[in-house]
């Protein structure tokens, strides 16, 4: 007789649905000739000098633990980078924590902030991990829908409508996946006023900061009164094409970092050493050559971004212009199909993978997420197939 696991498992965690993205993965992975616009990571391989630094480190026998906080030399590079690129000042000794991807940063910040039942505001559509992360930390996720008419920007009205006395924190994920929306300084100022008035802590996920195509990225932590109440999450995955290395970092006032480091210390100990060495190389070279790696990749994404927006508009779909990340989020309402059906049929009939907007929250209905982090030839082929598909509807 086998054990009935459900008697032992935490029902709150069992109840969290699996990522809606998974379903498409299973079908698409077995379909020869399919082109995927569903990939949420760069199509570049980590630059060779970065990989080589990790190889050298292994050859030199650097196989030991590092400080819980991460190598000091890496934290110093991060401090320099954050200050020169984003005007954010953090002390490398106690305000920067090196994590296993920005994902660990999401988890740590939620766990140190939330008491049971505390509410966390999350713009929607957004990255799939925030709401589950809040639940895992014992809190209650409260979605704030954003809309195409507002360029998917979080409005002060949406925040005011969602905030309650139980609201502890807000997740601010801009530049945004899946929409590609960004928040400018003026918009941030309006929001900051509410965050301060309502005494909210901001978890600002800035993993796509380097992939901003209009004005340079502005961090909310640079605004008056915000540094002390903001936890900035960033990492190397998107900006340096280092997804598989799982290298991220948290920048926050020492009092927050100290407690987050406690969980990190007891659960993770430290981020993998070779990843840290590679990350340090990425930043050191960047400091020397003006972040050439990032610049080259950003320019290439920007070209493909323009191509995508123009192609979707030519197909007769609505497509607001995304100014960040590497996704476009065209509207497919006028085809009469739901996001899910659109994506299923697109995959079956033209072998192109896109992700239904609903995978990122209810307000993603009527949209699909298409990544342009794909080689130009494949991208053009995918767009041709999609045009055929839309025309035949």
């Amino acid at each position: 007789m086998s054990l009935d696991a459900s008697r032992y498992l935490n029902p709150d965690i069992v109840a969290v649905p699996k990522s809606g993205i998974r379903k498409f993965f299973d079908v698409a992975a077995t379909m020869p000739g399919a082109i995927s616009l569903g990939v949420g990571e760069p199509d570049f391989v980590t630059p060779y000098h970065i990989r080589n630094a990790a190889i050298d480190s292994l050859l030199d026998g650097e196989t030991q633990y590092t400080s819980n906080w991460g190598l000091l030399s890496l934290r110093e590079e991060i401090a320099y980078y954050m200050e020169t690129r984003f005007q954010l000042k953090y002390d490398p000794k106690n305000e920067i924590l090196v994590t296993v991807g920005a994902s660990e940063g999401i988890d740590l910040s939620l766990r140190v902030l939330l008491n049971p039942g505390d509410e966390v505001l999350i713009p929607e559509p957004s990255y799939v991990s925030y709401a589950p992360g809040v639940i895992f930390a014992g809190g209650k996720p409260v979605p704030m829908p954003t809309y195409e008419k507002d360029a998917f920007v979080l409005t002060p009205e949406a925040v005011e409508a969602a905030v309650t006395p139980r609201t502890k924190a807000i997740i601010l994920p801009y530049p945004n996946t899946p929409t590609g929306a960004v928040l400018g300084k003026e918009q941030l100022e309006k929001l900051a006023e509410i965050f301060i008035r309502r005494d909210l802590i901001v978890i600002s996920d800035e993993i796509y900061a380097e992939l901003s195509y209009g004005a340079p990225h502005v961090s909310i932590a640079t605004l008056p009164g915000m540094h002390e109440r903001t936890i900035v999450l960033n990492g190397f995955s998107k900006s340096f094409a280092m997804t598989g290395w799982r290298m991220g970092y948290i920048c926050a006032p020492a009092a927050f970092c100290d407690v987050m480091c406690k969980i990190h210390q007891y659960t993770i100990l430290c981020a993998p050493r070779q990843g840290q060495v590679a990350a340090e190389q990425a930043l050191r070279r960047g400091r020397e050559d003006g972040y050439q790696d990032v610049k080259t990749m950003r320019e290439s994404y920007d070209q493909r971004r323009r191509l995508m927006v123009s192609a979707f508009r030519d197909m007769g779909l609505t497509c607001f212009e995304p100014l960040g990340a590497f996704y476009v989020f065209p509207g497919i309402k006028n085809t009469g199909l739901t996001s899910e059906v659109f994506c299923e049929r697109l995959l079956r009939e033209q072998k192109v993978v896109a992700v239904p907007g609903t995978a990122f929250g209810h307000s993603g209905e009527g949209h699909i997420r298409c990544s342009y982090a794909t080689g130009l030839n494949k991208l053009q082929e995918a767009l041709e197939r999609m045009a055929k598909f839309v025309k035949a509807l």
Binding site: I21, F24, F25, A28, G40, Q303
Partner: protein, 163 residues
């Protein structure tokens, strides 16, 4: 050089069949601006030719390639230019570089057969006035050329769908 020109060069180097319309969309310039920039670069000799990168090893064509180091005596007033000109006019010679170091010119030479290549070296090249010596290295295999890796498939190692 202007950013538009640099962007166009990088895009055309990747795929020189991209139509004007797409080049314009991708760079954010108008079609007229793109056409003018390309024409200017053609006129200025920045863009010399639009040609594919070919892996001849995958074709039936018999072909021998060699890198040839050439030592020459530079000439008064003309330096190496005059002799380089004599050399690059041969059809067999695909590339010519003036080098620092132990020798002066480096040639990439191509012929149909070993015999033909040998004939080129000992009757045409070595006998040129001012050529004082040559060293011929045959190419056994081409792994990468013009930034393109020739062997194996550069397959995508990413998962098909990720958040």
């Amino acid at each position: 050089m202007q950013n538009l020109q640099m962007q166009l060069l990088q895009l055309l180097q990747e795929d020189c069949r991209l139509p004007l319309e797409k080049l314009a969309t991708m760079t954010g310039a108008t079609m007229e601006e793109v056409a003018a920039a390309i024409e200017k670069m053609e006129d200025d000799g920045v863009i010399l030719r639009y040609s594919p990168v070919i892996n001849w090893d995958k074709t039936d064509r018999e072909r021998v390639e060699a890198m040839i180091e050439v030592r020459v005596t530079p000439q008064r007033d003309q330096g190496f230019d005059a002799i380089a000109k004599r050399v690059y006019r041969f059809d067999e010679v695909k590339s010519v570089y003036l080098m620092s170091g132990a020798y002066d010119l480096l040639l990439l030479v191509e012929a149909h057969t070993l015999k033909e290549l040998a004939y080129f070296v000992h009757t045409k090249l070595s006998t040129l006035e001012h050529v004082t010596g040559t060293a011929t290295h045959f190419v056994l295999k081409r792994y990468k050329s013009d930034g393109v890796i020739f062997e194996g498939k550069n397959d995508d190692k990413r998962l098909v769908v990720t958040a």
